[in-house]
């Protein structure tokens, strides 16, 4: 958890996108750890595979393909700090207020064979969602590749 916070801190402070990306990876992995703590192992695995493995690399690629191609600094300025700080602080305070006003007492932990369960519910309870996400993936895939092709065409 602390590790994640460190990562977040780096992202917030850093001006260098690459650094931020690595810090994000750090954060993501530590969040995966939190998932494990929350007994969501599958989620943790997905997190590490897709997020840490996928997103961060994509981002780094992105950085490479844009800023780096120009041979410029990968530094990004920041702005509006105060307003942004106020806004994010306000949000945070609101959430804290909300959470502290809520009781969490009548729940109990269910610890069973998660992966099985999830697999089954993908095909039963959430079959529509499962199909849908497949389609979403298709759309995103087609879209991204199409856009990329568009970019390379011109």
């Amino acid at each position: 958890m602390l590790l994640a916070l460190v990562g977040v801190g780096i992202i917030v402070i850093s001006k260098n996108i690459i650094h931020a990306a690595y810090a994000l990876a750090l954060t993501l992995i530590s969040v995966a750890g939190i998932y494990v703590l929350l007994s969501a192992e599958l989620l943790a695995v997905v997190q590490i595979m897709l997020y840490a493995g996928g997103v961060v690399i994509l981002l780094v690629f992105g950085v490479m393909m844009t800023n780096r191609l120009r041979g410029e600094d990968v530094v990004s300025g920041s702005r509006n700090r105060l307003v942004s700080a106020i806004i994010s602080l306000a949000l945070f305070l609101f959430f804290v207020f909300t959470i502290s006003n809520t009781d969490f007492n009548d729940s109990q932990v269910h610890d069973s064979d998660q992966i099985d369960k999830i697999g089954i519910s993908f095909l039963t309870d959430h079959i529509v969602a499962f199909e849908l996400v497949a389609f979403v993936l298709l759309v995103a895939l087609v879209g991204a590749s199409y856009l990329a092709k568009m970019a390379s065409d011109e």
Binding site: L5, L43, S84, K117, E154
Partner: protein, 103 residues
């Protein structure tokens, strides 16, 4: 693992979310903004995962997994668009993109 821990996870998620908001609002680079959004989504996933452990059907976790997938798609589309923009204008900072509209 006890109920008492729940608020702390949630506080953490809120913090993460707020940090994401801050990043989104402050950083100029589109990629940085994406990173911020990732943070926000992660925060949401943590919330889902936190609650999911008390749910026998694990819906929260499932939603979180889908969210992760979706996020990846989002990022890939965003990068593709960014690439196009970059090809055209050699710019990747959003505040330099001011061509649309007249106010």
């Amino acid at each position: 693992m006890s109920n008492a821990m729940i608020p702390y996870y949630l506080y953490f998620a809120s913090l993460l979310f707020s940090a994401g908001v801050f990043v989104v609002l402050t950083k100029r680079s589109a990629i940085f903004i994406l990173i911020g959004i990732e943070l926000m989504l992660n925060a949401a996933n943590i919330v889902l995962a936190t609650f999911s452990q008390y749910d026998p059907s694990l819906n929260g976790q499932i939603l979180a997994i889908f969210a992760v997938v979706i996020t990846v798609c989002e990022v890939s589309i965003a990068l593709a668009i960014l690439l196009n923009i970059y090809r055209k204008t050699k710019v990747s900072n959003v505040d330099e993109l001011t061509e649309v509209g007249n106010g």
